[in-house]
């Protein structure tokens, strides 16, 4: 603690907000829980993937082994491995025991793939393609063609005008993850802000606070204190998952995420501050903890609707959402990670968000000032807006 007289009382309010919360058992517990979940999400898949190695495929002879080798090549290597067996019965036994993933047996007019309950479709496709290639090459050789002549004019190549940096499944996952991070943090801290406001009303300490410092300083102290806490929580969790990624050798994901991290922080802070103003008002409209259920409803809606929209809507709707304030905090960082977004788009979204944040915070400050000292009964938003300055 510095020994200077505070020039800005909001600093003291923010300080108290932070020091109270970091000693609060519920807060410590929920942070630890989130940390665990994130670490589990980072580390467990790596451990599972690391254990498996190439899938074993039982084969009877060279031709089968060759098909498996080609299929492995199609998959990019290190995917399938041939295991030789003496006869069909031995292969069936291996499949039955789960020793091998599947068995590739000679079949009618080619091969037969044998599985226990089902055969993985990726494996089936690779084997089918490999078998077809090999078979046609052999047929071609008999007809006097080289493999090159056989394949002439039959190649299909992919050319993307606007290639995305991530495969689609990963992109969806990252989109939801980023939106979820904002949603969870904004909701969790929002409820904490509303609770801390209503606690001050309930314990009547607010009257002393309001007599000592301007009410706006109280609001700013709360908003800034909680924003700092929320960002710190995110950074701690991000650092932990970073360590997890490094420890499990998945550091290559960082190259994709790093350029967007700064943007995420900007969208996060602006969106969070705008909402924090609303949550503080939700607290000041209430007179008891029980009132929070109804007074925080608009805040929850403002978060939930854009969340589901930015997660489940189609690409075009998502692009629109990434410009709408609050929704943009959840949609834009994800879009930037998974698509090529021209620079003007996030900048424009930030301008929109900034304007909205200023407007929301100003409205919030007005409502907060007018309702904070009304301890008689719960107020509604419409009522609060119509109250004249008292």
């Amino acid at each position: 603690m510095s020994n200077e007289t505070l020039r800005h009382p909001w600093q003291l309010v923010a300080q108290r907000e932070i020091s109270t919360k970091i000693r609060d058992k519920t807060f410590i517990g929920s942070t630890a829980f989130m940390l665990l979940v994130v670490l589990a999400a980072v580390i467990i898949p790596a451990l599972v993937a690391g254990n498996s190695g190439p899938d074993k495929i039982a084969v009877l002879d060279d031709s089968g082994a060759k098909v498996v080798a080609v299929a492995d090549g199609i998959k990019g290597g290190d995917s399938y491995e041939a295991t030789r067996t003496a006869d069909v019965a031995a292969a069936e036994q291996l499949v039955k025991d789960g020793e091998v993933e599947a068995a590739l047996l000679p079949g009618k007019n080619g091969f037969e793939v044998l599985g226990k309950q089902r055969v993985d479709s990726g494996l089936q496709d690779s084997l089918r393609e490999a078998a077809a290639n090999l078979g046609m090459e052999q047929n071609a050789a008999r007809a006097g063609l080289t493999p090159e002549q056989l394949r002439a004019g039959s190649q299909l190549q992919e050319r993307l005008l606007d290639p995305g940096p991530l495969p689609e499944i990963v992109a969806n996952f990252v989109n939801i993850g980023l939106a979820l991070a904002f949603y969870m943090t904004a909701l969790g801290f929002g409820m904490m802000i509303a609770q801390s406001v209503v606690q001050e009303k309930e314990s009547r300490v607010v009257e002393i606070l309001a007599a000592a410092v301007p009410i706006r300083a109280l609001l700013w102290g709360k908003v800034i204190g909680n924003t700092v806490l929320a960002l710190t929580q995110i950074v701690v969790i991000a650092a932990a998952s970073l360590l997890g990624l490094l420890a499990t050798g998945q550091a290559d994901i960082l190259e994709v995420i790093a350029p967007v991290a700064g943007w995420f922080v900007v969208f996060f802070v602006l969106g969070f501050v705008a909402l924090a103003g609303l949550w503080a008002v939700a607290g000041s409209l209430a007179t008891r903890q029980e009132d929070l259920g109804s007074t925080t409803l608009p805040g929850q809606m403002v978060l939930m609707i854009p969340f589901f929209f930015s997660v489940f809507a189609g690409a075009e709707a998502k692009s629109v959402a990434s410009f709408i304030p609050i929704a943009s905090s959840m949609a834009m960082p994800g879009r930037m990670l998974t698509e090529h977004v021209p620079l003007w788009q996030p900048l424009l979204a930030i301008v929109f968000l900034l304007v909205a944040t200023v407007l929301i915070v100003r409205l919030g400050a007005r409502l907060y000032e007018r309702t904070l000292l009304r301890t008689g009964r719960r107020l509604g938003y419409r009522e609060a807006i119509s109250i004249k300055a008292s």
Binding site: L6, P9, R16, T20, V205
Partner: protein, 296 residues
């Protein structure tokens, strides 16, 4: 000096304060009395800037009261409240700093006040673990921690037993420097009479009496009380006075006409010439009578 001038406040149709003006002079305890709903709390909240007035002004040393100056005031609201789950030492330091002390000074002051209140060993306990009486002490400590330049206390003694009241009064006397104006409201008139130098009586939003307690208690008419060692019946024949009541040696009379201002002394001399005078002086009116009279 802290003054309010022409304060008016409306709550919807209800006129809660109607042109309320009075001074709280430095170094004097000003008692603020009135029936429930007379407007005491409303006035105090306006002084502290927690509520806005519809008209009128609060001034400090003749200037409109600014937020910076107000920050140095001490306030104990009617509805008590501090942070229940915050440790009391930490809490008082917080309030000291909120009122502009630096952290060292705030800690010093907190130690001193907690020591004086006998709460030094509870410094690390949360407020909610304290008895109600001790919570009340911490509440007053929160109003005093920053060495306020003026004090506004709304019913500071309500709910306290006489011993606790005495302890609180001692604390106020020790902690409040002579130049600090103190305004406190109370229902306990005998307490106000004992503690206050000045009095403001509020009734239905209007100031109905204000001034030094001694003057107000002297009553509007000049009534005197005479106790002699014999019969006081002769008073009935003295011109210029009206005897209210004579019961043997004790008489109560009003001065009605006194053109040269020496009548009271003449009566005393006459009484002394007739025998021993056991008691002579202006009749004091109990504050509760003043209050009843003023708020009728």
């Amino acid at each position: 000096m802290l003054s309010v001038a022409g304060l008016t406040r409306r709550f919807g149709e209800h006129l809660a304060l109607d042109d309320v003006s009075f001074d709280v002079r430095p170094g004097r305890m000003t008692g603020f009395v009135g029936a429930n709903g007379a407007g005491k709390t409303t006035t105090m909240r306006i002084i502290l800037g927690v509520l806005a007035a519809n008209g009128g002004a609060v001034t400090w040393q003749g200037e409109p009261l600014s937020n910076e100056v107000r920050r140095d005031f001490g306030y104990m609201p009617e509805e008590r409240g501090l942070y229940p789950k915050m440790k009391i030492h930490e809490q008082l330091v917080f309030f000291g700093r909120l009122h502009g002390l630096d952290s060292l000074r705030a800690a010093e002051r907190t130690d001193k006040i907690l020591g004086r209140l006998g709460l030094a060993e509870r410094a690390g306990d949360t407020l909610e673990t304290l008895s109600l009486g001790n919570q009340q002490r911490v509440q007053i400590a929160a109003a005093l921690v920053h060495e306020p330049i003026a004090l506004v206390l709304d019913e500071p003694f309500s709910g306290l037993d006489p011993l606790a009241v005495d302890a609180m009064v001692d604390l106020l006397r020790e902690e409040v420097t002579p130049e600090v104006p103190v305004l406190f409201s109370s229902h306990q008139l005998e307490l106000v009479e004992r503690l206050c130098d000045d009095l403001v009586v509020l009734s239905r939003g209007k100031v109905v009496a204000a001034g030094p307690v001694a003057e107000l208690a002297a009553g509007p008419a000049a009534t005197y009380r005479l106790v002699v060692d014999g019969d006081a019946g002769w008073l009935r024949d003295v011109p210029g006075i009206k005897v209210r009541d004579v019961a043997g040696a004790t008489a109560l009379f009003d001065v009605v006409t006194d053109p040269d201002g020496g009548l009271v002394q003449q009566v005393l001399q006459q009484a002394m010439s007739r025998g021993r005078v056991l008691e002579f002086g202006p009749e004091r009116v109990a504050l509760s009578d003043v209050f009843r009279e003023a708020t009728r």
